[in-house]
Symmetry: C2
Subunit: 201 residues, 2 copies
Amino acid sequence: MPRLAPALRRDAIITATVEVMLRKGMAATTVRDVAERMGSSSGLIHHYFASMDDLLAAAFERAAQQDLTGTREALARSAGAVEQLGTFFATYARAEQDWAFQLWLDAWAEAGRRPAVRRTSQRLNVAWQQLLVQIVRCGVREGAMTCGDPEGAAWRILSLLDGLALQTVAHPGTVDRFAVVSWSVALAERELGLQAGTLVR
Amino acid sequence: MPRLAPALRRDAIITATVEVMLRKGMAATTVRDVAERMGSSSGLIHHYFASMDDLLAAAFERAAQQDLTGTREALARSAGAVEQLGTFFATYARAEQDWAFQLWLDAWAEAGRRPAVRRTSQRLNVAWQQLLVQIVRCGVREGAMTCGDPEGAAWRILSLLDGLALQTVAHPGTVDRFAVVSWSVALAERELGLQAGTLVR
DNA sequence: GGCCTTGTTGGACGCATGCGCAATAACCTC
DNA sequence: GAGGTTATTGCGCATGCGTCCAACAAGGCC
């Protein structure tokens, strides 16, 4: 294994860990798996991460942040707050994002045993909520939405989407995903004083 | 350890496993833990359960079924479909039921690695949905609710409640549970053509 | 009371895990 | 090119896991 600058190596380890995590799940990811994926020794990983907890947390952070910034960029390309909200829902509806749901599910379950993972997942969850709050606040300022409690509304909508994600991941095929998404969109429209059908393109 | 009839011993093992599971989580539950809890040897457990997967599935089934029948009994004590639906939501709102949410979360996460647990959780999930379907069908027949798609409505409401459960378990303190419950109740009321406030006592 | 079925024991086995550490080798500086 | 810094190795250690099995003992049956 060629010698690498600390920052680059650390980065490479995280990348490899994310790949393993997506394939085998967070709980089944081991130091040896990551080392094999990188083609390096297992000792190297512990040279950069004090514990498995830290490594998994860092890897989860990477994956979730990527998702978050991807959504942020998509939002930036949208004109008004209403269109942004539509984009937000469309992101959740994408079938290719099942891996993200599975990852969040893993993180929630591991949170009980791994402090670092718990802290990271809580932080990122709040980040998603704040993203929604921002959109709603923007919509209210534009006069396109009405909402007395943006913080609360964001939590409610997020809970709704999480439940949807849970059902589709845990019981694929049983639930009609599209139907549940449209429903949640309709609910959000009513919650925010939007006309029905505004968010669907 | 006194000799016991197979059915009773099997029952005792499941009981002990549930207790350990509630305390340490499903993923952290080991054969030795269960044996120690029972005050027996570890070999005894494998005399009744072919694998750890089977044992965990049986224990999860026990806990979830208990919850299910408990709710069924509460529903039986309620008069009409509307009151039954109110009872259904009240069950979810109870703070003492956090252990149930945590257990479901564990089951969903373990499902990827443990076939028996997966089958059990899917079966019980459908059972909960059917319970809701029954209530809605009943309500429509009584003329108290309007719903064109009881099956779909049940899945949507269940997703909503699951999301709520997820947020409150994964991020205790961050989300105002009562606010989210009331919201989901209000949503269900609208979904089923009920007057606002009907389900809240 | 002897026998035989069967619930029960408790440790052994093999495997996998996270982690630590002395040795090695690559790179940089002078 | 010598020397020192440090990224990297790869094996060893302790621990924990699920599973298995030969031995043991407690009943029931005749």
